[in-house]
């Protein structure tokens, strides 16, 4: 047993982080918020970097890696708040022409919601009766469906990985602010009330990380359900605590915190209902 990232997985993580920092850094994120649209050039770049074809066999033109590697990559995607139906396009690779290469944008209804319908080339699955709603997340346009359809377990896992990445990022943002911001003549991170919020954020990230990575390895439905709940908690509560640590600035449009919180709320729905995950876990007892 060696339940740690391998050297290759570390390299994959670092490479993805570097690619996204260069191609979708903070300026690009804020520009996207000001003028929301799906960036086709970015999509194709992610495609040629192998993001969508990561788990396709090499014989089929893919990278030939496994689900643990996909989780490592989607953690980075979540961290950088990359917009677009990445999970649906990733799962369509090899099945929908152009998905693997990033030529096609594929979306699918998950958890009773359809993201990015107008920007997508292909909608997989039954999206009859979809009605637009005014999405809380400025970077995820949403349609509502009449029924709350199921989310495939791979999509649940990849959304959990994105939640994990987002939770890790909001922890970093909170810690950075707690170090920089001074009140009463000292960094606010020196106050235990603030320090302890940050410590609890880290604890949630670490538990969620272990659960998400383990679910990617075992593919056990019960572990996927546990990963979903723990990662949703880490992302949503992490964003809220980050907002709190930022004080008044955290409540502004200008700070990035709200983008993480809103996306975390959206992912929590797209990744499948918490109730279903809870029933899966309860039934396993």
């Amino acid at each position: 047993m060696h339940f740690q990232l391998t050297e290759e997985q570390r390299a994959l993580r670092d490479g993805t982080r570097e690619l996204l920092a260069g191609r979708f850094g903070r300026d690009a994120l804020r520009a996207a918020v000001d003028a929301p649209r799906l960036d086709r050039a970015l999509w194709r770049e992610l495609g040629s970097a192998g993001l969508f074809a990561l788990c396709l066999p090499e014989a089929a033109g893919g990278v030939g890696l496994g689900l643990p590697e996909a989780v490592v990559v989607f953690e980075e995607v979540g961290r950088a708040l990359v917009p677009g139906p990445l999970v649906a396009t990733f799962l369509a690779a090899g099945e929908v022409p152009g998905a693997a290469s990033g030529e096609a944008v594929v979306t699918a209804p998950y958890g009773g919601l359809l993201p990015w319908r107008d920007a997508a080339d292909v909608v997989r699955g039954d999206a009859a009766g979809a009605e637009p709603l005014a999405s809380v997340d400025p970077l995820t346009p949403l349609y509502r469906l009449p029924g709350a359809g199921p989310t495939p377990w791979r999509a649940t896992l990849l959304y959990a990985a994105e939640q994990l990445g987002s939770a890790g990022r909001t922890l970093e943002m909170a810690v950075q602010h707690a170090r920089d911001r001074e009140q009463f003549g000292q960094p606010v991170g020196g106050f235990q009330a603030v320090k302890h919020l940050c410590a609890e954020m880290l604890v949630r990230v670490e538990v969620a990380r272990a659960a998400v990575y383990a679910a990617a390895v075992t593919r056990d439905p019960v572990e996927v359900a546990a990963a979903e709940l723990l990662a949703d908690e880490a992302a949503v509560q992490g964003a809220r605590d980050c907002l709190q640590v930022h004080g008044g600035m955290g409540f502004t449009w200008e700070a990035d915190v709200h983008l993480h919180l809103k996306r975390a709320w959206v992912r929590a729905e797209l990744g499948g209902s918490a109730r279903d995950a809870e029933e899966t876990l309860a039934a396993s007892l």
């Binding site: 339940f3 391998t6 106050f191 302890h196 538990v207 659960a211 309860a282």
Partner: protein, 379 residues
């Protein structure tokens, strides 16, 4: 990210299972909680069997993964806990192994491993709890001995211990972390008075210890004089590392028992209760995987558990309390008030988890300062 065990590790697991299957049915009944000599005999007898079968040093001689398998399998089989051997196996022993001289290792380690000698811990004091380094028990050098006076508190197994790992102040003028030494004190030395303390669960799990001019040979000091704080930190990181592996396995078993109980009583139909049980299932599933993650990390870093233990302890101690709060709801109103129910007693004892071995508040300071690099001190 590999969760499969090597052939060698699986072989270790299979042999251990087989051995446990043979030896456990022949084990005598567990002594009652108040029967300290009986508990000592039972716990050390079990350690002796482990030692004779080649498992005596698994807590520090074996790789972290092997230790994980050992703790998992012994818990699943319902084998006795380390009990009275806890301080020897998980505190004093590893400290002596890491910091002691060849002579000290030869004197103390085998009797710990073979269950001959029991150790207790004299760290905390009435005025030095979370702020352990504020300890005041003084040791004055007199020839080839230290003469010690002061008092210690929360000392488990003091009534039946042969040795005490004792922290004393050897330099009152130095900054508080730099004037402490680590001594092995024989518990039969004149001048030691032990007064048992009753816990809120009704049992006497620990004691107060009063030291009045107790003479301890200077050769019983482990590490350099006034270097005891660093020596102690080695010990504490062991306690926060793999010490709870067996308990996570046990909690997952209890969770299954709670579900079975709730199904039988009809409380399972209560969606709120079912949800609580489901969330705990997610919690302990995550904690088990975090344990494997930390163990794998320790395996790479050379076996000494890091601050990851604090992360784990924080989450685990609260999860354990939640588990027994839910147990109270599974039992229902009257059952939750009945100390004849094992879960009610476990609920009471779970209250110590967020306090013992460093309170949750201290753990959060450790996590924030040592992992996240936030400023030290502060209010």
């Amino acid at each position: 990210m590999d969760l499969t065990y090597t052939d060698e590790e699986e072989e270790f697991r299979a042999r251990l299972r087989e051995w446990l299957g043979g030896v456990l049915p022949a084990l005598g009944p567990k002594p009652s909680p108040g029967d300290w000599p009986g508990r000592r005999a039972y716990d050390t007898g079990w350690q002796r069997r482990l030692y004779d079968a080649g498992y005596g040093d698994v807590h520090w001689g074996a790789s972290p993964t092997t230790r994980l398998i050992f703790l998992e399998e012994t818990e699943k089989a319902g084998a006795p806990y380390v009990g009275a051997n806890f301080v020897g196996l998980l505190h004093a022993g590893p400290t002596i192994a890491a910091e002691g001289t060849a002579e000290q290792r030869a004197r103390w380690l085998t009797p710990i491993l073979s269950g001959q000698e029991v150790w207790c811990q004299g760290f905390s004091e009435p005025e030095a709890g979370s702020d352990l380094a504020a300890l005041r028990t003084r040791a004055r050098r007199d020839g080839d001995a230290y003469v010690i006076s002061g008092s210690k508190i929360w000392t488990s197994h003091a009534e039946v211990a042969d040795w005490c790992e004792l922290l004393v102040r050897t330099d009152s003028a130095a900054p508080k972390h730099r004037g402490i030494s680590w001594l092995a004190m024989p518990m039969d030395a004149p001048g030691i008075t032990v007064r048992p303390l009753r816990t809120l669960a009704g049992s006497t799990e620990f004691a107060e210890m009063f030291l009045d001019e107790v003479r301890v040979p200077a050769g019983n000091r482990v590490g350099a004089e006034n270097d005891g704080w660093r020596v102690t930190m080695v010990t504490l990181s062991f306690e926060r590392g793999t010490a709870f592996v067996g308990e996570v396995v046990a909690c997952r078993r209890v969770l299954g028992e709670l579900a079975a109980h709730a199904r039988k009583s009809g409380r399972w139909d209560d969606a709120v209760l079912r949800r609580e049980l489901a969330l705990l299932a997610a919690e302990f599933s995550g904690l088990w995987r975090l344990t494997q993650w930390n163990v794998s990390e320790a395996q790479v870093s050379g076996g000494v558990p890091g601050v990851g233990g604090s992360v784990f302890k924080l989450r685990y101690s609260h999860a354990r309390q939640r588990l027994y709060d839910v147990a109270a709801r599974v039992l229902g109103g009257a059952g939750a008030l009945d100390t004849g129910q094992e879960w009610t007693l476990d609920r009471l004892s779970s209250l110590s988890y967020t306090i013992a071995a460093g309170t949750s508040q201290i753990q959060r300071n450790i996590v924030a300062e040592r992992i996240l690099g936030l400023p030290k001190g502060g209010k």
